[in-house]
């Protein structure tokens, strides 16, 4: 049916078809090579770094708008025209200062922000031009700053008061950095082995690798942010202990696992939580590449996490990927540009599809990594009826919205539907507790978490720490 065309390339040392031969069964493709191929494909950046010449040319296209729309569209209100002008005057260090003073995670935001709907989407150069590539320019400046170990922030003069921060994700890191700038101490307690939260474990690999996320956190640690990893609040340290150690508590725990969909066969080992799946790919687990190789994958969901899962599965070596969504195209919450990305990756979108039963188990490549033998689903018909179908899926991945984090329910703050109830300034129902990021919003962008974490830090400083008085 399909002829396999290999395109030899000296640089890559072989075929560059990213595993299409796997789908059609090329016998000459060594396993090891497949794995390293797919790891490379997974991390191949959608928007690669700009060279200095490219950055200068792009910076010089910027109009330096008055009251710039890009700046207003950014949740952290980075002075975009100024930092672009600084790149244009060959002052990348100054550009990085401008970015980081507004957004301490400017390096990761440069990579993971949906700029198409934020700064670049607001750029006035749309109709007759192309928007300025703000994300890549921001990356150019922050990459430079990271490479020369530029100081990320200047701590404020030390003041009395300490904050316990739960979670070293974007909200917690941003809160800690802002407190440090204001002169207050904090300790971040992180349950995972490494800091960074979704930046490290959950962002699609082609947007950002864990190495970059961790390097950014190291940069903050060098500046004075304290993080204790592998410490689970409520287990390794009690909440009352935390309260006695700190004057205020900031909750930045994010959201929890993806909930079950309550269908038969859901507990089979070939059914995955989408976030666990991405995390395993990002870790580079051997087994995940083995089980994925050539597999037909059904992904359930319609948000941006689902898109990350399908594109990652496709790049990671899957033979066929379906995206199953229970409603119509209009209700899909994924960004249009992300959906295009999935389609480009060969993903088949199946609308009005309700999963009924996972069939299996089936033999996988190893006893540890088994597959399923199919997914039974109902296709809603225009007349309201339903047509049953069975997809020959080898793996099923849930990528619907996350449920609340486990810890959230244990906190003495008001919680609604698994989310901490907090106002725009980060205040919860408990005057000593503040919260921001995904655990409040239910799941938004990194840049939102940064903005909210920063605002909460200011609220904590003003309403709790500022009242303690005195220097440290």
């Amino acid at each position: 049916m399909h002829s396999i065309q290999t395109r030899p390339s000296k640089r890559r040392g072989g075929c560059t078809n990213f595993g299409t031969c796997q789908v059609y069964g090329c016998a000459n493709f060594p396993d090891m090579m497949a794995e390293s191929f797919h790891k490379k494909a997974l991390a191949r950046e959608l928007r690669p770094a700009l060279s200095k010449d490219e950055a200068l040319a792009e910076a010089n296209r910027c109009l330096f708008c008055y009251d710039a729309p890009c700046m207003k569209a950014c949740p952290t209100h980075i002075d975009v025209p100024l930092f672009i002008r600084q790149i244009g005057t060959n002052n990348p260090g100054g550009a990085a200062r401008t970015i980081l003073s507004a957004n301490i995670l400017g390096a990761s935001c440069a990579r993971v922000c949906p700029t198409e709907v934020l700064c670049e989407g607001a750029c006035v150069l749309q109709d007759q031009h192309k928007p300025i590539q703000i994300g890549p320019l921001q990356r150019f400046a922050t990459d430079h700053a990271m490479a020369v170990h530029q100081k990320i922030l200047t701590p404020g003069s030390p003041k009395a008061g300490s904050v316990g921060i739960i979670g070293a994700g974007p909200a917690g890191l941003s809160c800690a950095a802002e407190l440090l700038k204001l002169g207050y101490q904090s300790v971040i307690y992180e349950a995972a082995e490494r800091p960074g939260g979704l930046n490290t474990y959950g962002v699609a690999q082609y947007k950002m690798t864990p190495e970059v996320a961790l390097a950014e956190v190291d940069w903050l640690i060098d500046a004075g942010v304290t993080i204790r990893c592998g410490v689970t609040v409520g287990k390794d340290i009690s909440l009352s202990e935390l309260e006695s150690r700190h004057d205020a508590i900031f909750i930045g725990v994010g959201m929890g696992a993806i909930p079950g969909i309550h269908i038969d066969g859901e507990d089979l080992p070939g059914v995955w939580d989408g976030l666990d799946f991405i995390a395993a790919l990002k870790r580079g687990d051997r087994e995940i590449f083995e089980v994925l190789r050539g597999a037909r994958v059904a992904v359930i969901g319609g948000g941006n996490t689902a898109i990350d899962v399908v594109t990652q599965a496709s790049r990671g070596g899957a033979g066929k990927v379906w995206l199953l969504y229970r409603r119509g195209r209009e209700q899909l919450s994924a960004y249009a540009h992300e959906l295009e990305l999935a389609k480009d990756a060969g993903v088949e979108l199946v609308l009005h599809a309700v999963p009924h039963r996972v069939l299996g188990p089936a033999r996988g490549p190893s006893p540890k990594m088994s597959r399923v033998s199919g997914l039974e689903l109902g296709r809603k018909l225009p007349d309201g009826g339903e047509k049953l179908e069975t997809l020959p899926a080898d793996l099923v991945i849930r990528a619907t919205g996350q449920k609340g984090a486990k810890l959230t329910a244990e906190l003495s703050v008001r919680v609604d539907g698994g989310k901490v109830v907090a106002d725009a300034l980060g205040r919860t129902s408990n005057p000593r507790y503040f919260a921001a990021g995904d655990c409040v919003s239910g799941g938004q962008e990194v840049v939102n978490a940064v903005a909210e974490g920063q605002r909460a830090a200011r609220t904590i400083a003003e309403e709790v720490l500022g009242k303690l008085g005195g220097a440290r």
């Binding site: 200068l56 910076a59 109009l63 330096f64 008055y66 009251d67 244009g88 607001a122 150069l125 109709d127």
Partner: protein, 428 residues
């Protein structure tokens, strides 16, 4: 199709595009390749007494990501032996009899030296001579180049010496490094020159290496002022060409930052009958002439003109003194809202940099909606200049002051017509 051929003070050329005396005309090989590419003429790199050059000779000014908006050089006249140049000149002329081959000359200010070099150049077959009274560096310190061009009496004297023996037309190349370029232009005409060419390069320092603190180009940790050319100098050159066109009767060869057919047309409109190009070729090679020829030809056709000569000087009458301009003429800015992209650049420019005549408010798209405050607009053009969208801001004429022409010389408040001011002037 319009006729692009020109006759410049008796020198025939298939088109008005000549290579200026500079590195692109250093050798016969280059000039022959240039003629093959389409250039109508070339001015051979200046012949004179043997010199030595420094290494590291050019430096440039980049602007907004574009390379070489301005180019500076501290190179001297030809460093090739005179007899080699003369042999190549005669060979080129033999092979390309219909192209214009001018030889640039510069020797010490002695009558015999000039007589000798003129005879040699003409014997080699030059169609004309260009006296280099413009070079601002290296040669001027030795009493040549701009050292001559800056003193009208010297200019006149040397032109007279040259004219004593020259059988071909004599073009005097003028330096811009002088307060009023019309003085040496008049001196050249008085001495008997058949034409002038301008401008030569402008004294310049293109910049400094901020790490080593050495101005560019660095010659072992130091530099000297160079001659500036390229697109950056075009407006200065246009102004000087226009002033000279209003002063002398002899033809003008226009030089200074010409990189396109539009640039060339502008020089011709202000009085040049041929144009000379250097930097554009040093940047992009000889092929740039293709679009110059095509563009000029199309332009002449579009304007219904049959030859380049008909275009020469058409804008000169419109280049006037400020006091002759009509004070009753008034324009104000007009913004086409459907074209506006809401960048607010015009607002920032007008509010901070001009006359506070634009109002701004954020619109529902998060962008800026701007509006001209007509009662405050003085018609300065700035907003229309900074607007990034073509034809979005234009200047429209309003007739609030009446139709009658009113130059400043006739303006009732003209202070120079005030008796008190006049008497003060007499006192000085």
């Amino acid at each position: 199709m319009a006729d692009l051929s020109v006759e410049f003070c008796g020198i025939k050329s298939p088109n008005p595009f000549w290579l200026a005396s500079a590195p692109p005309t250093n050798t016969g090989d280059q000039i022959m390749r240039a003629f093959d590419a389409g250039w109508g003429g070339a001015v051979w790199k200046t012949l004179g007494q043997p010199i030595v050059n420094v290494s590291s000779r050019y430096s440039s000014v980049d602007y907004a990501g574009r390379r070489m908006m301005g180019l500076n050089n501290i190179e001297l006249i030809t460093d090739r032996p005179l007899d080699v140049n003369l042999r190549e000149i005669s060979e080129v002329k033999k092979r390309y009899p219909k192209h214009a081959l001018i030889v640039s000359l510069m020797v010490e200010s002695r009558r015999e030296a000039w007589h000798d070099i003129v005879r040699r150049a003409e014997d080699a077959g030059a169609d004309g001579l260009e006296l280099n009274f413009g070079c601002p560096h290296g040669m001027s310190e030795r009493g040549m180049g701009s050292a001559v061009g800056q003193v009208p009496d010297y200019t006149c004297q040397i032109v007279e010496w040259v004219k004593e023996v020259a059988n071909t037309p004599v073009i005097v190349k003028l330096t811009p490094n002088i307060t009023d370029v019309t003085f040496p232009a008049r001196a050249a005409e008085k001495g008997g020159a058949d034409a002038v060419s301008l401008i030569n390069t402008i004294n310049s320092v293109t910049g400094i290496d901020l790490e080593t603190l050495t101005p560019r180009p660095s010659v072992h940790g130091a530099s000297a002022h160079g001659g500036y050319c390229g697109p950056a100098v075009k407006p200065i050159a246009l102004s000087m060409v226009a002033s000279v066109a209003q002063t002398v009767k002899i033809p003008i060869s226009g030089i200074g930052g010409i990189a396109s057919w539009q640039d060339a047309v502008e020089f011709i409109l202000l009085g040049a009958s041929t144009v000379q190009v250097c930097t554009a070729v040093m940047h992009h090679g000889f092929r740039v002439v293709l679009d110059m020829i095509d563009g000029l030809s199309s332009y002449l056709d579009r304007k219904g003109l049959s030859s380049v000569q008909e275009l020469v000087g058409l804008s000169v009458p419109r280049y006037q003194r400020w006091e002759q301009l009509n004070l009753n003429y008034r324009v104000i800015a007009d913004i086409k809202q459907d074209k506006c992209i809401g960048c607010g650049v015009c607002y920032a420019a007008c509010y901070d940099g001009a006359h506070q005549a634009i109002a701004v408010r954020p619109n529902d798209k998060g962008r800026s909606t701007v509006e001209i405050l007509e009662h405050k607009c003085v018609g300065c053009n700035l907003c229309s200049l900074v607007c990034p969208v073509d034809d979005c801001i234009t200047m429209k004429r309003i007739d609030s002051f009446g139709e009658e022409r009113l130059p400043w010389t006739e303006y009732s408040k003209n202070p120079s017509q005030h008796p008190h001011v006049r008497s003060n002037r007499h006192d000085q």
